[in-house]
Assembly symmetry: C2
Homo-oligomer: 394 residues x 2
């Protein structure tokens, strides 16, 4: 353990992606030392965090060695094997969130089973391993249905919408070969997607950001609006209540993002259904860097350190976050000349990542105090994101 | 020059103090690579910037070697020798601000002479080298007067208020021995101190933050309020005009902080007198991290890179910044439990520095949207700063 002046602890984050990168500024402000276990020296976070160790999250020895250098272990992603996390916890390391919580973000079958036991509303689902089981389920809830690998998916990977049993043949054989079970869910007829993001500390304190709406394209988050426009007040409260309930019941420590569908029940009343969980800072919370009193990155640090949580309230009427996805232009910096001259108020966040088509390489945020300014903020943020990505050139 | 993905440049900052440290989060967001030349591996910025070189700003070879690794050279302080900066500039390095500008922040005699030529209002002043010259000046403007070394002072060091010639004997002999001339200024009867902070790019674009009021104790900044309360509108415009004029006339690139006295002329009309200049992010602009659309640190990067400048407007009605000065308690982290529990909205910024009495080790910021909320914000920020420093314990 490295001694830091002032008695400040070291938080170790496994994974060197943009979430670890965006945690760095929060750690700088708090004076907390951030250490990162990254796979490569040019990982997004490795570029900006001096205390970076290079190693794989799948290498037990590398993770163990990293854990020995930090006061609290936390995560940029959900891919550290659950067994290893249990072992580290039993060896006395502070693993936050702990493996008994994190497994619900690692394994969708475990998550669905637990949500069912807790009575949390969600799409109908089943584990399937044969075409017959699949068609039985889909005939019951109606085609198409959604197939998901129970482990390892992200950003639309490991998820497919299928219209016939024939579409699932490859999925079923891969599941049988890998031993990773396959989940099938009803395709919810939703109005839009929401996210309720909360944070919880080991002491049990919790704080909730305003419920946001998220827009996904091909399974990748493109836009977030905070707060969700025209959201029914009772539904917002219900979404927040569910997220806080899950944080408590699953003993989450740190940020918990609960992705939900806004749908209607048989009687036409609005309701939310839980889609996915993430136990770390999440794309649906990036708006909070510029738009909330306390960002999700600062809050995650405070939570895993068991410090009192910060004020999660929005700082303006609307905050719009638009992801910058890699396009055909590897040169990004040149875009700043136009983007910044056109709009001095847009906040740009790039992740130091090489450009690959469709890869999340950054985001932009626009805040407005004007209650009627949402459309304008959206247009500004979309323009900046598209221009940086090279999708538009004027 | 290290190649970065996306065509992003490297900004090299000479000096590893808190200003370089607070520049790091801005560089992380923009994707710009920040390199730092620090004197020691545990300097404030060295703790959080991977691309840190260790070396003295007074070591020509170290500064030259550092300059060779960056696209733009800028500064955390004013202490790099002017001659060396000229040499680097002539060798083709982008030195921003350039030495012909920076010398006005390095040498108070050069600054006073130039301000006089530009017709900028300031206290009466003279260079003195004998008790006789000193008493001649002081008898004319009235005792007490203010003595300043022309080079090397900061945070109240190198400045003294003296009431008699006898008080100046040591100063005069030190000036004679060191060859650094001594400046004497009238002690202005001021209402309060103001700061007009602006930024300027090589292209000549400039942007001004709201004029703030600063409170110094023993020559060290303690508090900043943005905007300055009850500031006469014409006086605010005049202060901003002077800062922008100086930025242009002195060919400043980057942030320029102009410290001023708010005083009255012989007819009792309010006026400002320029006290000091700083050509870098400045303590009077720290409020902008949490309180402005564009922080002084992001703006400094944009300016030295000749990118379009960001919106400098305030994000809320009042932003209060209170410095945390080192006290008797080396342990700082423990204070977070109380400070954060008591006030979830206070923003804490600590610098990773060891505690020494009176040393600037951090600051706290409180923003409020309530036009009547200034006193409350001040009380909250003062409490947090005092509690972290250990001045109070409840």
């Amino acid at each position: 353990m490295v001694a830091t002046p002032g008695g400040f602890p070291t938080v170790g984050m496994v994974g060197g992606g943009q979430l670890a990168r965006m945690t760095a500024p929060a750690a700088v402000a708090l004076g907390v030392r951030l250490a990162v276990l990254a796979e490569a020296a040019d990982d997004s976070a490795a570029l900006v965090v001096p205390a970076t160790s290079i190693g794989s999250h799948l290498d037990d020895a590398a993770v163990r060695a990293f854990a020995a250098t930090v006061d609290v272990l936390t995560f940029d992603h959900e891919h550290v094997p659950t067994d290893l996390l249990h072992e580290l916890q039993e060896a006395g390391h502070a693993v936050r969130p702990g493996p008994q919580a994190l497994v619900h973000a690692q394994d969708k079958a475990v998550m669905r089973t637990r949500l069912g036991a807790l009575g949390v509303p969600m799409p109908r689902w089943a584990l399937v391993s044969t075409p017959h089981e699949l068609s039985d389920f889909a005939d019951g809830v109606g085609w198409p249905v959604v197939l998901k690998t129970t482990r390892g998916g992200y950003d639309g990977k490991g998820v497919a919408r299928i219209a016939t049993t024939a579409d699932a043949v490859g999925w079923l054989s891969r599941a049988a070969a890998s031993g990773v079970p396959l989940l099938v869910e009803e395709a919810v007829d939703f109005r839009r997607e929401l996210a309720a993001v909360v944070a919880r500390s080991p002491s049990g304190q919790a704080a909730a950001w305003p419920v946001v709406t998220t827009t996904q394209v091909d399974g990748i988050c493109r836009e977030v609006i905070a707060p969700a426009p025209d959201l029914d007040g009772e539904l917002a409260a219900e979404a927040t209540r569910i997220a806080l309930q899950l944080a408590g019941d699953l003993d989450v420590v740190g940020v918990l993002a609960v992705e939900m569908f806004e749908a209607t029940d048989a009687a036409g009343r609005p309701r939310v259904l839980v889609n996915e969980l993430a136990m770390r800072p999440h794309n649906s919370g990036h708006w909070s860097i510029d738009g909330a009193v306390t960002s999700q990155f600062e809050q995650h640090l405070r939570a895993v350190l068991d410090l009192p949580l910060g004020d999660p309230r929005a700082r303006c009427a609307w905050t719009v976050m638009v992801n910058v996805l890699g396009g055909d232009h590897p040169e990004l910096y040149r875009s700043y000349l136009h983007v910044m001259a056109r709009d001095p108020g847009v906040k740009v966040h790039l992740y130091g990542k090489g450009v690959r088509p469709g890869r999340k390489i950054g985001h932009v945020t626009v805040c407005t105090d004007d209650p009627l300014g949402l459309d304008d903020a959206l247009a500004r943020a979309r323009h900046a994101a598209d221009f940086i990505a090279g999708v538009i050139d004027e």
